[in-house]
């Protein structure tokens, strides 16, 4: 299974909402990277990732999120993850990402 993305701008909350579906891995990470950079160029804002259907992420995918986080942080925006599966939450905790990202 590969990665599917659904992005939209939420006007009332003034943030990007990105639904992540499938697997973020060595093969699909560039899809994510390109999408995030495009959105951020279009409009700088907070980012909310909806992760109900995110099945897998590896260190190359986490790397994309970390470098993106550093970009967004410069503009003082936040990056939020919603509904992470237990197995993925575990990796966020293990690698300390639960400390830099907001998770709910």
């Amino acid at each position: 299974m590969s990665l599917k993305l659904n992005s939209s701008f939420n006007d009332s909350e003034n943030c990007w909402e990105i639904e992540l579906m499938g697997e973020i891995d060595i093969n699909s990470k560039s899809v994510l990277k390109d999408e995030l950079n495009q959105l951020n160029e279009k409009k700088q804002a907070d980012f909310i990732f909806k992760c109900e259907n995110l099945e897998y992420i590896d260190s190359t995918g986490l790397g994309v999120l970390i470098s993106f986080y550093k970009n967004v942080k410069i503009g003082n925006h936040t990056v939020m993850f919603e509904k992470l599966k237990p197995s993925i939450l575990k990796i966020f905790s293990l690698t300390g990402l639960d400390k830099i990202f907001s998770i709910r």
């Binding site: 060595i26 260190s59 790397g63 986080y69």
Partner: protein
């Protein structure tokens, strides 16, 4: 006798998921629980990523899944550049970096991990997990 599954894959990103699928399948058949299966899948994925990204070899790499009563042993072996493991430093988790998480994740998720590598000699990583 132990069941052994052997897999050799092209050193390209798109095939890594075959290794993960095989790992999940074997772990599932052995009776690991869902959490452990996810751990094994990720550890195998990370080792394959390293073989593809760092070995510098554009040919193939091998995986061996050895099913051993209550222990699953997995060897991932490439024929590439190798590296000096003495220079390896664990990631500082307080200062997240884009790179350097792979081996740390593998060691955290598996029960036993050993690495045989040397510059110019390829890399073999042997990891195992025991059913609780």
């Amino acid at each position: 006798m132990n069941d052994v599954v052997n897999l050799s894959l092209p050193s390209k990103p798109e095939y890594v998921s075959v290794a993960r699928l095989t790992a999940s399948f074997v772990a599932n058949k052995m009776g690991f629980d869902i959490e452990a299966i996810e751990d094994i899948k990720l550890a195998v994925g990370e080792a394959c990523n390293n073989a593809v990204l760092h070995s510098g070899s554009h040919d193939t790499y091998n995986l061996e899944f050895i099913r051993n009563d209550l222990t699953l042993v997995i060897e991932i072996k490439d024929f590439g550049a190798g590296f000096n493991y003495n220079n390896y430093v664990e990631p500082k988790l307080e200062e997240p970096q884009e790179n350097g998480l792979g081996l740390f994740i593998i060691k955290s998720l598996m029960d036993n991990v050993s690495i045989e590598t040397g510059e110019g000699h390829g890399t073999k990583i042997i990891m195992s997990k025991i059913i609780e």
